[in-house]
Amino acid sequence: MASNGKSNGKAKSNGQWVGKRFKRKEDPRLVRGISHYTDDIKLPNLAHCVFVRSPHAHARILSINADAARSHPGVRAVVTSADLEGLGMIPCAMQMPDLKVPPHPALAKGHVRYVGEPVAAVVAEDPYTARDAAEMVAVEYEPLPVVLDMEKALEKDSALIYQDFGSNKAFTHSMKSGDINAALKKADRVVKVRLLNQRVAPTAMEPRAIVAEYLPGENRLTIWASTQIPHLLKTQVAIMVGLPETAVRVIAPEVGGGFGSKLNVYAEDGVVPWLAMKLGRPVKWTETRRESLLVTIHGRDTINHLELALKKDGTILGLRAKVLADMGAYHQLLTPLIPQLTALMLPGCYKIPAFDCEIIGVFTNKMSTDAYRGAGRPEAAYDIERIMDCAARELNLDAARFRSKNFPQPREFPFTTAAGLTYDSANYQQSLKRALQLAGYDKLRARQKAGWKQGKYYGVGVSTYVEICAIGPSAATPAGGWESGTVRIEPTGKVTVLTGASPHGQGQETTFAQLVADQFGISPEDITVIHGDTLAVPYGIGTFGSRGTAVGGTAIYYAVQKLKTKIAALAAHLLGAKAADIVIAHGRVGVKGNPKKSMSWGEVILAAYTARSIPAGFEPGMEATHFFEPSNFTFPFGTHICAVEVDAETGETKIEKYVAVDDCGNVINPLLVDGQVQGGIAQGLSQAMYEEMVYNEDGQPVTGSLMDYAVPKAIHIPEFILDRTVTPTPVNPMGVKGVGEAGTIASTPCVVNAVCDALAPLGITNIDMPLKPERVWRAIAAAQAAVPPPAATTKSSARTARRSA
């Protein structure tokens, strides 16, 4: 992968390991299936929990009769909200002036407000018995009017989910800069579009799972959980069950993906530990795939009204946005935060003098939305990149050149955006240029023109994105945005790295080892990275928001610097040299300019532990911790281009070429960065093409299994042509920005832009996601009915299409 970007920040680290395509240290145990996920945890006397869930989207609970279930052989407990004495509410971490926060009990109390809401929990000797007994719990419901459509939910005569709130509005949030009314008035053209960003299910390969064990003698509650945030979960569970935080230990064993869905505290996270404490025996709950689709948070689900004010020459004058964001029935940990990120990133990578954004959070009878890969930024990128394409078309400008015209120049960084963020560093022009080259953009455009004459619908999609990563400065986050890192060099010279981040597929056992190896001049094989055990690792925030390396890695970097100072002091003492002259490299600690004076790495480290000869005031041992507080977010960026052909007769889309040029600053391991980009594109492309969480008019989930909910398979994903530019960030000393979400953010608008571009001759400006063939076919048929096609594909098909319109 060529990295031909010009560096405009700090020099790239060109160590022996950093920058290498080093294979993941995690993989041998994972691919052989010999490691342990939460469901693999087996404890003596383990009991199993199954939840009784609401079959209604909105109903009053009239009665619950659990007698039959309780007396079923093998059942140890059946609990409802009435039994959950002392268990606190499910937390929401967001605070906003007018935010409505409904009470969120772990088991439904009086009402149920979405299908799948837990109503009772059954504990039995095995999961089969628990499941059998769950079916014996008789719940009498009185169905209530269901609120599903956000626009209707805000109408005056809508049914209410919470009578006390007086409306279904959860909050209103606005953000303004410049004079939007003047911009709209002055504009030669105002381009408008209404975009739907559909609800999707994160669908981690490993569903959620939790095992809890309480030892009353030691007063210790141990929780194994598939989570991205072991420390925050520890704090929140302690609060919910009423134990001192010191009595709770959370272990995240192998975690099979999260994508934001495990950056949360769920009902089950409270109920299962509570049951373990009450019953005096360990309890396990593992989510089924159906539960995963229904009651793990969903992502996106916004309705976006956008207006872009422009001069004839393509200069942007202003952007106005009104966004409705579906909260679902309750707030999970960060539910109301996600659309705020959309507002912050709506200006994208463009100079926008006037900006006005209003976001309204809306309650509906569905599962909560919350962070899903990209969390608010894919929505923003979709909005701005789609309207940029609509605008280019209306002004008859080339989509790439129009974007470039509105980019800030590299010398303008740090660049303050219309939403008030300060972008750290970028060279958008260079990324666009490289992507156009790799895609063969001019040829694609030429083929498109020729194709239209033959009734072939080729399209080219461009998406120049910027995202907000390395979350983040603590002032801008609900629960602290720093990260901890501890580096311990053991007496044998082997190194243990403890990170407060909680990697679950990102590969930081590998990248952190690479970074430390270079600093110490040792091999990554001699370094073990430990994470996800709150008793072993100092308090940390976790892995989300593409922060693991940029924030967590930086904490480790600084801890390493502390140890290098300490090693230099000790070696100077032992070798009779000045600390400033000590060089640590290639497994040795020596003196600059004097090759005879040196010791092996192991000798120096052992000397720190035997402590027989140490300088005055030297602290024995070799361990350092650093808590890194970033001064800003980082803002990775890039350009994605894809070429599609749409079969106008059936509405099927074929992605023929996909080019991604991403810039995440300096790269520690290109192999892992490629993997993140590929996986990210697959997920974003899949939202554009396939995925959609559908509820019917009664609020029943229609796509409740993987037979209906379309997670992409290998055959659905085209080959990707990947490249990078490298613009390091000044925000951290390694110049790394983060890359976990870039692909998801860039690819969704890229694909939709390409399809709409292909259908431009028919006058089609927008088709809502997912671009299901039938939806595309209907749009084409409607357009063909309005305007005759440039050249019909076949007579019969054109007739069929018109007839169906």
Binding site: V50, R289, T650, S705, D708, H716, K772
Partner: protein, 284 residues
């Protein structure tokens, strides 16, 4: 994904299996399990007894039987898809098998299991209909040979009696014919939204014989007899018009992914394309 309790038997011989089946009305046969087990995990199916046919020897084969090829009921889709004998002498069945589900499904699922399930969107039904295959069954009262056209009777129902087990599928050799299986797959399930299986004999100037089997559109797979009638003895130029009858008199299914109207439309387009490709393939 936690099934209700059930008993399990794994007979070693067909006779043992038949007597178990005769003794237990509501038993279900396990022959791959890719439809049955998910249904059981969701408790949509709760059979008290599972009779696993996987340990029965001698039902996994593909044999040349003169004018026909015989396929044992426990032959996996993967084996059918890659059979040299089928690919050389009767490729349509292999083409359909190669389109089923994904690699994992093809390595477990069996042709007998799939046909017995009679899923309205399965791939095999279109192919066995177009081939006029015969389905051989066994029961304690003896063997039956059921023509494919009489086999599928409704959604998830077939001419198979409760005491019968499918033992063999016989397909004619299609030497000299062009065959194509063309499928629009559901992106989640992999089932056919529309699947069209075509056997064509003749030339561009005159189509001598044509058979079109269609799955996914209606409650059961069917032969598109109106298309066939409109093409027999006609030149290739008649295909476009003939294909418009692909879903005549069919009550099409509709769901969240594809409406009835769209399925009918796809049936027409895919039929036309399949016929054109089959004729082109034949010329090679």
């Amino acid at each position: 994904m936690i099934p209700a309790s059930f008993d399990y038997e794994s007979p070693k011989t067909l006779n043992e299996a038949l007597s178990l089946l005769a003794a237990h009305d509501d038993a279900k046969l396990l022959a791959g399990g890719h439809s049955l087990l998910p249904a059981m995990k969701l408790r949509l199916a709760n059979p008290p007894l599972l009779i696993d046919l996987g340990r029965i020897g001698g039902l996994d084969y593909i044999r040349d039987a003169g004018d026909t090829i015989s396929i044992g009921a426990l032959t996996t889709h993967g084996t059918v898809a890659s059979s040299r004998l089928l690919l050389a002498s009767s490729p349509l069945l292999a083409q359909a098998a190669g389109n089923i589900g994904d690699i994992q499904v093809r390595n477990r699922g069996t042709i007998g299991g799939s046909l017995a399930q009679a899923h309205p969107s399965a791939d095999y039904p279109a192919a066995v209909l177009a081939l006029d295959a015969r389905i051989v069954t066994a029961s304690q009262s003896g063997e039956r040979v059921i023509p494919a056209r009489e086999f599928f009777t409704g959604m998830f129902t077939s001419a198979l009696r409760p005491d019968e087990i499918i033992t063999e599928i016989r397909v004619p050799k299609t030497t000299g014919a062009g065959t194509v299986y063309k499928k629009f797959a559901h992106p989640a399930s992999g089932y056919a939204v529309v699947g069209v299986a075509v056997v064509v004999r003749g030339s561009n100037a005159k189509i001598d014989e044509v058979a079109v089997g269609i799955t996914g559109v209606g409650e059961i797979a069917y032969r598109a007899t109106a298309v066939e009638a409109a093409l027999r003895g006609k030149p290739a130029s008649a295909i476009a018009e003939a294909a418009r009858h692909a879903a005549d008199k069919v009550e099409a299914l509709g769901d969240n992914y594809a409406s009835a109207e769209y399925r009918r439309h796809l049936a027409q387009v895919y039929t036309r394309r399949a016929l054109q490709e089959a004729l082109a393939a034949k010329r090679k």
